[in-house]
Symmetry: C2
Subunit: 142 residues, 2 copies
DNA sequence: TCAATAGTTTAGAATTATTATAATGTAGAT
DNA sequence: ATCTACATTATAATAATTCTAAACTATTGA
């Protein structure tokens, strides 16, 4: 979803009623310079602490899943204990910082095109994603 | 861990006491032709149904994590709702069948070497892993 | 051989993330 | 303004995992 767009119209377009909770969540998620990576817990904290809004936990879950279904959010699997979501819904790769638990998008140019030689009969490839895990290299330095 | 190896010695080597629960779990996990991908739930079912053994759920969790810590199992993140483990602990890529929820190892030769151009200052790359999601392509066929 | 002890197993309680429920509220159409 | 279908909410339920503390057992060394 583009930054500063008319969220009310955008929501209506895909058949989601523009409630005040959904509009507020759009602002939190999409009025940003960079793409945003978050867990539900992060989001709930931002809404309640930074925005000083009260949106029920169930609504946050419902809305995140509704946005995901409509293609406005993408789920990223990194850690089996938490669900990460990404406002960048295009096919792209990630760096995951194991120290800070932060996700970083890769640009198209950061990783060469992946060539998959293996074919599985009767199956088509839905996505190819690379996860690069990084951590501080202090240990190896003097 | 090699197939049909002396699990008792192997466990002692890394400082894990060879209890009957751990030896039984070694047999289930490592006495196989191919590498084994499983969730804790899968494993508990195999132990109780196929092996007709009773190992406490807490012990299965403890032991899987002990084996992981000692480098005999590797956790794979695919689905944020479940933890998958892999008896192949080397760096390698996976196919994930979204219909059957089955994981398939990629051979070295299945995917070209991945070239990462991006550098993150102060961080070293710990791993680079590719996940190829596949699903039935019935939809696109006549 | 046998007791001491440190590590292990266990059932069940606790915790955490997520989803379901059912009552109340609200957007959009008439 | 009223109706109706969809949304929101607090709370209960569920599922995966971890914690707890008591009972058990492999190892050590007398």
């Amino acid at each position: 979803m583009p930054k500063n767009c008319n969220f009310i119209e955008k929501l209506r377009e895909v058949g989601l009623r523009p409630t005040k909770q959904r509009i507020k969540m759009c602002e939190v998620l999409y009025n940003r310079e960079k793409t945003f990576h978050f867990t539900i817990n992060d989001l709930v904290k931002i809404i309640s602490e930074k925005m000083n809004e009260k949106i029920s936990l169930a609504t946050v879950y419902n809305t995140v899943h509704a946005f995901e279904k409509k293609g406005y959010l993408k789920e990223i699997s990194i850690d089996s204990h938490k669900s990460y979501f990404d406002t960048n819904t295009s096919a792209h790769h990630h760096f995951f910082d194991e120290d800070t638990h932060e996700l970083i998008d890769c640009d198209e140019s950061d990783i060469d095109k992946i060539n998959i030689r293996k074919k599985i009969t009767g199956k088509k490839i839905n996505s190819v994603e690379v996860l690069v895990r990084v951590a501080s290299d202090n240990q190896t330095q003097k």
